[in-house]
Symmetry: C2
Subunit: 457 residues, 2 copies
């Protein structure tokens, strides 16, 4: 593969050295695929296969991957859903299913329905990674060289710092997330301008709903944010890669908040904007330990001239990202790809959404009650960040050191929170995961926080 | 964590910049662990929890991770084995089980039994990664800077090249694997000497049984290899990291071949030798698509003075490798960790080994027949590399271009093989995976190869 098409797109301009270099070599897969179609006898596949009866008591005459008899009792599904390799970017049917799901989700917010035809045509076929973390690691590696900047809000998931700074050796350009209960777009704009002074691209992660704050923009805030990004792309004509970390998508509990990912707003917005959607079964389908993430890229119409070029571009993108997946994890768990395919199938999806609705409603009640209770704390010493969904909210502390406070909460009041202290970024507070608190205990939970605070008066 | 203990070991000297920099920050996990023990009400955990009855029809009163009702029918095991996160390096019981399995395997070869007490004491607790590939990627990243060398045989798994060169940007120092039907130790020695001229460490992968050749050393060859490595370490007093890629361990079909990993010979061999054992459930427990790899490090007695230091060193190693896992994939699939724990439990392990024996015997018969049939080809144009186990063997072609030959085999003779051509490394031949050929078809398979070869006379 010569990558002639991708080389003419902003994606390639934005690629790191790794992104430019990596690809999936023709090799085993090419020959194994050909053998599947052309061979009568194939000795290409590096897994053990045999007739089931030859290694399983009362086994059948099927030619299947060899497996151990004593794994069978764990499953109610055919062994071929459990044992074989999935291919590098995932099982094709499951990948199509997830792409369909991405397209379906675009229609959930009445205010910004996108063309189904465009989405079908210009979205890449979803690739699977072992968890959304690996999708983030993949994108950060594909776009960030050592010492280059990625833009993130000061209030962010701590693991971004591990990925970007400790692992890749790149740098975080932090912007102030909130100004007076709203997103601080001026601070984001300045961060982008600062990066553009020294680099020929912008890489930005939008994690909405946000961990740790539970922030989701209102429709109005979203429009302002999108306009800012559009203007930035139009004025500078430099690639603007936007990673939409949509881990908590679907958990929106406030009627003013947007219901769908900003990915849909970014799709086809400007030819220098490269939107990448990162989903996971972790929270979306409530299978935390299943470890399947989904990576889908929005191609801009102007990047290609013909349908043939579009197909070629999709192949080149898939090859490059597959090369990265191959060289880090080989492929992702097969069973959970099978399960997500079932959950999102036309026969099951209504049930799936209905079952999840119960969980959403349960979390929403906790969200409302926790906010209500926290609002009864009349103190200048704390403030709650704007929060409209997700699994968390964040309480800022003015003068009490957050780790000290969390320690006091644990030791004396027997309640657990996650303190976050980053003085150089102006952060001192704690995250409350109402996702894991019994609603009946929320009033007591807040009451103990109040008592602990009163010790500092 | 200050990493005071590891800094005094050869591991730290051998670390790459990533290895030196990465760690798992105290943070969420620290506070969540404390909350588990100290809190009456905890809002630390970032998964959704609830009473099962509140989101599952006919659910119980258990406080469990929220999940979707329509995943249940896939499983015959409790939902808590399927849905929650495993911790970053894996479920503790499963990790202990794998370490016990590593220790048990050390006893399988009568000729080189190791002290069980030493293994128990000086092996780290196994860490899990999503597949052995990720274990290899992890170790390569932890020890190799860009442009540094790793030593590999010229006949090797193609994905090493993706990991080392395309992804990490390091370089492969290739040695000639065979000289007259035996391992070419002179070539390996020269490769090590060449690397030591420019670097202060040696990183080497030993993949035994080898992919693509099926090579396993004889007992005599193994002794010579181990002596070479020991001498190299003694003479140069520089760290010698040896990654034992034991993906195919257990599949030994020749009575002269060693039956256990060279890891056990390297353990406690010299204080500058750092042996790392990389296992996987993929082939060892025949769950290819399960994606669990196992990483176990042998600590040398001389690295520490006291039992307290030993514990501290183990903690530091675990923290650093966990930091890498966290920043690339977060954690590994829970269900397959649960299954491996069951398969290797004292109640099940005899059955597991007995079931696997059937597969081993099946492969062994193919191995014998394929070698016999290939040996009937009387031609100077081909030679078979020494092979004693694993899933494959490798046929060298003298003057026919391997990809042309594979293409002819496919198109005209309808048989599939994997050609490997690396002219700069003197390789031109093809891999036959007898792991996936029905034994009754092997004579026909070889007969067609013969016919194809006769076209070139």
């Amino acid at each position: 593969m010569e990558f002639e098409t991708i080389k003419n797109t902003p994606i390639y301009k934005a690629f790191s050295e790794v992104g430019k270099k990596i690809f999936l070599p023709r090799s085993i897969f090419y020959w194994a695929e050909r053998a599947k179609k052309e061979a009568e006898i194939s000795g290409t596949i590096g897994a053990a296969f045999g007739f089931e009866k030859d290694f399983i008591e009362a086994g059948g005459y099927r030619w299947v991957p060899c497996y151990l008899q004593n794994i069978k009792h764990f499953f109610n599904t055919d062994i071929t859903n459990v044992v074989p390799y999935a291919s590098i970017p995932g099982l094709t049917d499951s990948r199509k299913r997830w792409k369909d799901w991405v397209i379906k989700k675009s229609q959930l917010d009445d205010n910004k329905k996108k063309s189904l035809k465009d989405l079908e045509k210009y979205l890449t076929l979803t690739l699977f990674t072992p968890g959304i973390t690996h999708g983030i690691f993949t994108c950060c590696s594909m776009f960030l060289n050592q010492s280059e900047y990625i833009i993130l809000p000061n209030k962010r998931w701590g693991n971004y710092d591990n990925i970007v700074e400790k692992n890749i050796g790149a740098k975080i350009k932090s912007f102030n997330y909130f100004s007076r209960d709203s997103i601080d777009l001026k601070s984001l704009e300045k961060a982008m301008q600062d990066v553009l002074k020294i680099e020929e691209k912008i890489i930005l992660i939008l994690n909405i709903p946000n961990n740790p704050t539970g922030y989701i923009p209102t429709r109005k805030e979203a429009i302002d944010l999108i306009n800012l990004l559009k203007n930035m792309a139009e004025q500078n004509k430099k690639p603007l890669v936007i990673l939409c970390d949509d881990a908590y998508e679907g958990y929106t509990f406030d009627k003013d908040a947007i219901k769908t990912s900003l990915f849909y707003d970014l799709f086809q917005l400007d030819e220098n904007i490269i939107p990448i959607k990162l989903d996971g079964i972790t929270k979306e389908l409530l299978m935390y330990g299943g470890r399947i993430g989904a990576l889908t890229i929005g191609i801009h119409k102007n990047w290609i001239k013909t349908d043939l070029e579009l197909e070629q571009l999709k192949n080149e993108i898939e090859n490059k990202f597959s090369g990265f997946i191959r060289s880090t994890v080989s492929n992702s768990n097969i069973l959970y790809q099978t399960i997500l395919n079932s959950l999102l199938s036309s026969q099951e999806i209504e049930k799936t959404l209905q079952y999840r609705k119960k969980v959403e409603k349960m979390l929403e009640k906790r969200y409302i009650l926790l906010n209500q209770e926290l609002n009864t704390i009349k103190s200048d010493g704390i403030s709650i960040d704007p929060n409209r969904g997700g699994f968390f909210l964040f309480v800022n502390l003015k003068s009490i050191k957050a780790t000290d406070f969390a320690d006091l909460l644990l030791k004396k009041y027997k309640i657990g929170v996650i303190p976050i202290e980053k003085t150089h970024e102006g952060i001192n507070g704690f995250r409350i995961a109402y996702s894991s608190i019994d609603i009946r205990k929320i009033p007591e939970f807040v009451s103990r926080i109040k008592k602990a605070m009163s010790e500092y008066k």
